[in-house]
Every structure is written in C-alpha cells, then in structure tokens.
Symmetry: C2
Subunit: 225 residues, 2 copies
Amino acid sequence: MELAEITRISVADQVASILRQRILNGELPPGTALQEISTAASLGVSRNTVREATRILSLEGLLKRSAHRGVSVAHLSLKDVAEIYQVRRLLEIPAVLAAKPDSTEVFSELRGSLEGYERAVDEVDWVRAVRFDLQFHTLLIRFLRNRRLESFYQKLIGELRMGMVLVDRKHDDPGGLVPVHRRIYELLTAGELAECARLIAQHLHDSESRLTQIMGQQALQESRK
Amino acid sequence: MELAEITRISVADQVASILRQRILNGELPPGTALQEISTAASLGVSRNTVREATRILSLEGLLKRSAHRGVSVAHLSLKDVAEIYQVRRLLEIPAVLAAKPDSTEVFSELRGSLEGYERAVDEVDWVRAVRFDLQFHTLLIRFLRNRRLESFYQKLIGELRMGMVLVDRKHDDPGGLVPVHRRIYELLTAGELAECARLIAQHLHDSESRLTQIMGQQALQESRK
DNA sequence: ACGTGTCAAGTGCTGAACAATTGAGCAGTC
DNA sequence: GACTGCTCAATTGTTCAGCACTTGACACGT
C-alpha cells in the first residue's frame, strides 16, 4: 500500500484529510466511534499516526475525545447551529461590505462556485450543492483579506456541513434558495453592497431557521422510539 | 469525595500547556527551535507525547512546523498583527454593543481583570499587565455568548501576547493607556454602549499603532548588524 | 432488582527501532 | 576562489511492541 506520489505532507495529515472527508460527506455520521486499532489497520498506518490525526480533527471540532473512551464523530446540537450562524452573520456581512471590485480573483472563484452550485441543483445532487453553497459563502470571507478569519470560518463551515449533509439527504428541496446566490453575486458585482448585505442577512436567517426546524424534527423522531 | 482530581487531563495536554505558558511568557522567544528528544527528556515524557503536544500548539499558531526540520516558536509579523487587530475590531465592537446588564458574571470578572491590570501597572509588572489587559478584552467577547468565538479570540490573543511580551519588556511605558480600561468599564456599566464601542475602536487603533511602530523599530535594529 | 466483583477490550503512554530527510563539512574540479 | 557533488551525523517521521490504567458489560450472590 505504497503511495506512488511524492508525499510532501505527513502521513498524519493525510489520515486526517481522509477522515475529514468521510465525516463531511456523511459516511461517518455523528456518533460513530472510531477505534484506533481498526482505523490504523484499515488505513495501513500505525496507531500513533491515527492518534495524531484524531488530535487534529478533534481540535477542528469534527471529533470528540472522551478520556479512555476514544473519539467519536461530533454531534451538531441546536446550540452549535445557533453559534455558527451568529458567527456567519458577524463575518459575512462585514465581508461583503468590504468587497472591492479589484478583487477579481475572488469574483471569478465566486462565479465558479455559483455555477457549480446551480449545476448541482439541476442534477439534484444535494451533497454537492451543499458543498458549493458553503464554498460560495467561504469565498465571501476572502474580501476581508484575513487568513485567520478564513481558516476559522472554514472550520465552522466544516462543522455545519457535517450537519447539513445529513439533513439534505432526506429533504430534496433546499428551500427554494436557488436564486438567492445568483442575486447575491449580481449585487456584489454591481457594487450594491448594502443591499447585498441585507440579502445575506435574510438568507442566513432563512437558512438557519430551516436547518433548525429540520433538526428539531429529526430529534423528535429520534427520541420517539 | 474526589480529592484525586489530578490526571483528568492527558499528559499531552499538560505538556502543551507547559510549552504554551513558556512561549506566552517569553521564555521561549520567537524562532526558538524545539527538539523532540531534549524536550521529551527534560519534561520526563516520551517523544510521541511531545509530538502530540507540538501538534496542538502548531494548530494554535504558536509553533511552526517545517517538514523534517522540526518545530520552532512562531514569529509574529507585521501582517499578523494587522490581521489580529482587524479581527479584534470585528469582534469586540459588536461584543460591547451586545452587552446586557444581566451578564453580572461577566461584569464581575471584568472588574477583577481591571483591578488586576491597574495593580500590575502600579507595581510596574508589565508582563502581568499585558496578561490582564488581554484578559479584559477577552472577557468582552463573552457578551456575544458564543464559545466558538471565545476560543477563537483567545487563540488570537495568545499569538498577540507572544509578541507583546517581547515588546513590553523593553518599553516600560505602555503608552499612557492606563485610564482607558477603566473608562471602558464605566461606560459599559452605564449602558453607554455606542460611546464605549467608539472608545474601544480608538483604543484598538492606538494599541495597534504602538505595537506596529515598536516592532518596526526592533526589526530595523535587528537588520542593522 | 440491586450492588458488586471480575474481566476483556481499548485507550494512554512509553521506549526502542528503523527509514527518510536535511544541513554541514569535505573533497574534487574548473 | 567559487561551484558542484559526496558523505555523514543529527533529527524528524513513522512503526512496533508492550505495559498500566480505565471503562463497560457481564455474571454473581444477596
């Protein structure tokens, strides 16, 4: 099981990436326990390496460590969702207000993200749609030109995505939010930042409500057995 | 009766805490290389444990990893300072605007922090003064009632403190900023949030200018040899 | 049902080993 | 002398085996 590629990144990081991807795609749903030995064996690495990887992911908030009981995929509570959306409002709105037309690279990436999103919606691929949706919003943060904010935001979006993928698997209508992103993009390019900020605030509010509601329903179903 | 509340935290976390403290206190100045073997020996733990600890600290931004060359204490560049202060403005201002009088616990901690700060200034203990100063600001974030924001902010403050301690060792006058904190506290308790927000914006701006200037001078001296 | 004791499984950590990479010193060549 | 390439010790990256300790489940006796 040799990786033919010239690995400039450490094995521990690679393991973390693999697990991260599985978590974010919903392959490892919240609550799943990860045993060190079996994980190490299945990935062909040592226990210590797995340990380093889980260390990384637990600091990212994707895994939860309990002493002597190992790690398991974190659960996204309603409170978590509220926190994350509060941060999103706090960051995305100043971000679009700081948008300058000379950030051509950001705009082009936004366009790509938007198109990917719309294509995914057309093809009824909700997992991919969610990924592009959140990528679009992550790109907005770029307008603040602050790497620390970007990586913080990305971390939060990861947690959120973990929850959303589960939800959107069972709800094929993402809430008629399709045209919103295009409108945001148009307002941005037109320089109507204040209006754009308002729209985003509205969008975030709707998105949160929808997610919260669905999560509430699921929790109800869960407890009813 | 649980008198043995001792090792509830893992050794790796303890090692991380020790190193973190040394870095933040300036015992390990930026650029210092940390060798795994000697660190492990001096702390009486194994190499693997040190590795986990350095993993944590590098994710916190206090250590920098370069492949096969080990870790070293991170350098705070002018760009880093600019980023951190941008975040501070972005978070502290909404935080004080969100302050509600019913957060009695936060207010009492703020008061304690303020008094500790003033006492440290009186005693000309600048390292402690910096710690209380930054603790005061960290407490402001509590008004947002968001654990993720708190821990993110605390992380950034850690990075900043690393730089400030070095600076303030050699500059005994913290810039006549002494009365500002008290004023901020008074405005907060009086409910004059808008005015308080303005003052904080001003204070952050001054603080950044001062730090930037001193760091610039130091960089100049450094390069002149 | 209710403690309680036992036990396998799994984590936390150690110490030793080996492979891979780096940087420095050293040689040789032009 | 500057450049190139070589060797080599030091250090990191990773693996492995093993032991102490915690935990949860199961079985036991009352």
